[in-house]
């Protein structure tokens, strides 16, 4: 056996959550080690779009958490050495019929009351903001706080910064077991050897269920597949992130906004589009349960493309150059799972972000740092407790 490794805190998972936790812990002077089974951003953080969408969050603790997270972003970005291509561009959610528009209006009222600025646009106002939108679109909800970011650059930026502050990052290192004695985490057994540590953060995303089994806890996170098309790079054509009301319907399981078509329901189809700094447009997406299968399918790609053209007809003139699928760490109610585990001191969960990981990473990282180092958090995280499911 090589030298025995040790670290004050071990973070399992090198995605955006793990990187954010490492970043905030290092800021507080903690000794941190990230163990990553494959590579940084190998999971959902590297296979998603760059949506920072506030208006799609569940009203209540979910939206509150998001607002906290967004408030932290500018400070982090300022601090990073890699440009994460953050663009506070605002976001449009389009309604394809009057029912959807009515629903968006009703929702906007509640969202506003919860502290998020949102505005309902009629066809004329929408045209001014999105000139080439389909004539079939009846209106939209516009959220000026919505934004976009390059999730890979953001994750790598935080990981690199943490590394600069002393964090160790071990890639290609799979966790095989977690040793708990006297109700406390003692050791993490990995393919790269054993690591002595009294504090472990599980930021393993879709792998969290497997990690939970090691300490005999059921972490109800499962992979939910999302497929995305990537177009050729073009001059700026989309100034904002754009989604369809049905996207919110499938994401938050809102009956009123679910697609009508049966195939679309089965695929969990919802329209999203954003143009990256490089000029490529990422078009989404689906919500499918297919285990750990990350294959893109002709059926979904076809459906995504056709759906997108309903909203933005000019998209049909673009060449699709790639497609990819990512696995969201889905939790049963769509909210993250954060906090300690009963009976296992030193084990903390930061997982189940369900497709909101990029958006919630900043606040999750900060809360993890507080929880691990101080034993308490600046905001109440009980709504995200594992035990809400029982």
């Amino acid at each position: 056996m090589d030298d025995v490794l040790s670290s004050e805190v071990v973070i399992i998972g090198g995605g955006v959550i793990g990187a954010a936790a490492a970043y905030f812990l290092c800021k507080e002077g903690a000794e941190v080690m990230i163990v990553e089974a494959e590579d940084l951003t190998a999971g959902a953080s590297g296979a998603c779009d760059g949506f920072l969408s506030l208006q799609t969050k569940q009203i209540g603790s979910h939206l509150d958490l998001t607002l906290e997270s967004m408030a932290l972003l500018p400070g982090i970005i300022e601090d990073l050495d890699i440009d994460p291509e953050y663009n506070p561009c605002g976001g449009l959610m389009l309604a394809t019929n009057q029912d959807q528009l009515k629903e968006l209006k009703a929702r906007a009222k509640k969202v506003k009351a919860a502290g998020l600025e949102i505005e309902i646009l009629g066809t004329q106002e929408l045209k001014e903001m999105l000139p080439e939108v389909s004539k079939e679109i009846k209106g939209a909800a516009y959220c000026p706080s919505d934004a976009q970011i390059n999730p890979i650059a953001f994750t790598l930026g935080m990981a690199q910064k943490a590394q600069g502050m002393g964090a160790k990052i071990i890639k290609g290192c799979k966790v095989e077991n977690i040793v708990v004695t006297n109700n406390r985490v003692r050791e993490v057994h990995t393919t790269a050897g054993s690591i002595h540590s009294r504090r472990v953060i599980c930021a393993a995303g879709t792998g969290s269920n497997e990690i939970g089994k090691m300490i005999i806890v059921d972490i109800p996170v499962m992979p939910q597949k999302g497929q995305i098309l990537v177009t050729e790079a073009r001059e700026r054509m989309l100034d904002r992130i754009v989604s369809g009301a049905e996207y919110l319907g499938t994401k938050a399981n809102l009956d009123e906004l679910l697609p009508k078509d049966e195939d679309a329901i089965r695929l969990g189809l919802g329209f999203t589009a954003e143009q990256t700094v490089s000029g490529n447009i990422l078009i989404g997406s689906t919500r499918e349960f297919a285990g750990f299968d990350k294959e893109t399918t002709p059926e979904a790609m076809n459906a995504i493309a056709k759906n997108a053209i309903n909203y933005l007809p000019w998209i049909k003139n673009l060449d699709v150059i790639r497609s990819f699928a990512g696995l969201r760490p889905y939790s049963p109610d769509g909210l993250p799972i954060m906090g300690p585990v009963k009976g296992v001191k030193g084990f903390y969960m930061a997982t189940g972000h369900s497709g909101d990981g990029i958006c919630l990473a900043a606040i999750t990282g900060k809360l993890m740092s507080e929880l691990v180092l101080d034993g308490e958090t600046s905001i109440d995280i009980s709504p995200f407790s594992l035990y809400r499911f029982k």
């Binding site: 050729e232 790079a233 001059e235 000029g279």
Partner: protein, 105 residues
């Protein structure tokens, strides 16, 4: 631009170049002679043109690297369509080819 400047008319193995049908394409509005059956990128080389595009951000000149459609360094705007791989797109009489000049910032 001299038509035959870079064309290999005589070759010790391949012999004399068979005369293909001459066509005319336009590079940023300027007429260029080309030969039917050859890709745009080749016709540009024949005319001594090596810049296929300016990079999107820094607007640095780029040229064809692989000539087999893999590297996309030769992408230009052809008859109004952007991102066309000119090493794999054959010339056509009257074709309008434009040099992308970078589009970011």
């Amino acid at each position: 631009m001299a038509f035959n400047n870079f064309r290999i008319l005589q070759h010790p193995v391949l012999g004399e170049k068979k005369n293909g049908k001459e066509v005319r394409i336009f590079l940023d509005g300027l007429p260029i002679h080309a030969v039917e059956g050859e890709p745009i990128a080749a016709a540009l080389y024949a005319a001594g043109v090596r810049i296929t595009r300016l990079s999107p951000h820094k607007k640095e000149p780029r040229g064809a690297f692989c000539m087999i459609g893999r590297c996309t360094e030769c992408c230009m705007i052809v008859d109004g369509e952007p991102n066309v791989r000119t090493c794999r797109t054959m010339v056509r009489d009257g074709m309008r080819v434009e040099t992308p000049r970078g589009w970011m910032e």
